[in-house]
Amino acid sequence: MSKIPRNFKLLEELEKGEKGLGAESISYGLTNQDDITMTNWNGTIIGPPHSNHENRIYSLNIICDEIYPDKPPKVRFISKINLPCVDNQGNVMVEEFDTLKNWKRSYTMETVLLELRKSMASASNKKLQQPEEGSTY
């Protein structure tokens, strides 16, 4: 099977993000819409209900460099969050986050955001004390 080239894949993701075709609980798009290299992306995760994240909106920065999607994107939280897979600068640590660690080419930014959200909602993480809402790294 032939591989979908980076730009095709990212264009597809861009359209999905802008038109809101994907999941409702997350959103993503280019940081700067004139960025023809489609490298810098914004993401948001709407905090899962029944957790300490409820009603919060988390902003993230996603970098899809040249080797995306062969290698996972770099994901960084802009909003402060207390999550085991996030270091104290907001970076999502590849080794601690299964979706990045066992990256597959078929994964998308949507996959990453949804998996992060799932992790926020997981039994072990949902009651973690969270920094004040609106604080950033």
Binding site: E18, G29, P49, N55, K118
Partner: protein, 316 residues
């Protein structure tokens, strides 16, 4: 600047089309949305392409284009149950892409809403329509003791019970629904969360004796009071397994109010499908659906609803 039309996606699969001049500010847009979406502008938060829109900016600065979508999230209000976002599984087993609760976002908490979720599609043990009276209500408040016991020994049910009891919202709901519990105040909550209570609910033997006791005391209608959590439960904790104490109440009342027993986890029905769905199958046959296997499958998926089964049959 010329007008653009965008889709506002709110929680619970609600969508609004809105046409406006993108040179207006985000605050103005929120007011417009407030008119159609019944959420005051002050508690709206808008997200586009991964960015939270700021009130003072013009919409055009975010380069929103015709046909695009903006997510609408209601922000937290302290006074009422927040209708947060959507579709988050409380059970780790449900997958991300299937909304576990299609009526999320309704504002008020409805414990039965879960049942309409897609994850229940295909459950073979949904209640057959025969359990419901002609008016759609249950024939009786509770299944008979045999059914109940088999239901209680069902691991799925126990799991559900545990999940339910560890969900504070659910507890609040139960307490609200039941005047006796409400009268107990905060103690009620403690009691429901106590391991003792949980054990009681998950021990079929115990339940059966409790039910029988209730029956002898005058049936489900009478209302022996629930044991006060302090004294009674401490006394009884030691001998729960061997000798259910007489104070064990007609606990079913607890659930009768919320109609959970009938609704939340139907008893396993082991009758063969032709018997279980007899009347529905006949109706389907009358309507010209002759394929027995498919009819049964359709009825299973829809929990015995003829209407639903027809839809399923026509769509597949």
């Amino acid at each position: 600047m010329s007008d653009i039309t965008i889709t506002i996606k709110a929680s619970g699969d609600k969508k609004y089309e809105i046409t406006f001049d993108p040179s207006i500010t985000v605050a103005n847009l929120k007011e417009k949305i407030g008119e159609i979406a019944d959420i005051p502008a002050s508690s709206q938060r808008l997200i586009y392409s991964g960015k939270v829109l700021k009130d003072q900016e013009q919409v055009s600065t975010y380069k929103v284009q015709n046909g695009h979508s903006i997510h609408l999230v209601k922000s937290a209000t302290k006074t009422e149950t927040p209708a947060a976002s959507t579709s988050q599984p409380q059970q780790p087993s449900s997958t991300q892409s299937v909304p576990s609760n299609i009526s999320a976002g309704q504002g008020s908490f409805n414990p039965l809403a879960d049942l309409t979720g897609a994850r229940y599609a295909g459950y073979s043990q949904l209640p057959s329509a025969s359990m419901f009276g002609p008016d759609g209500g249950m024939n009786s408040n509770l299944p008979d003791p045999e059914q109940l016991t088999s239901m209680m020994s069902n691991p799925l049910f126990q799991e559900q019970m545990n999940a339910m009891l560890s969900n504070p919202q659910m507890l609040d709901f139960m307490i609200q629904q039941n005047p006796q519990l409400r009268a107990l105040g905060p103690q009620a909550r403690q009691m429901l969360q106590s391991p003792f209570f949980r054990q009681m609910l998950t021990n079929p033997e115990m339940l059966r004796s409790a039910m029988e006791m209730g029956r002898q005391q005058g049936g489900a209608g009478a209302t022996p009071s629930f044991p006060a959590p302090g004294g009674a439960s401490n006394d009884t904790e030691q001998d729960t397994n061997t000798n259910p104490p007489p104070e064990i109440p007609n606990f079913a009342n607890l659930f009768g109010g919320a109609n959970l027993f009938g609704g939340a986890q139907p008893p396993a029905d082991n009758r063969p499908p032709e018997e279980r769905y007899e009347s529905q199958l006949r109706q389907l046959n009358d309507m010209g659906f002759f394929d027995f296997d498919r009819n049964v499958e359709a009825l299973r998926r829809t929990g015995g609803s003829v209407q639903g089964a027809i839809e399923y049959l026509l769509n597949n």
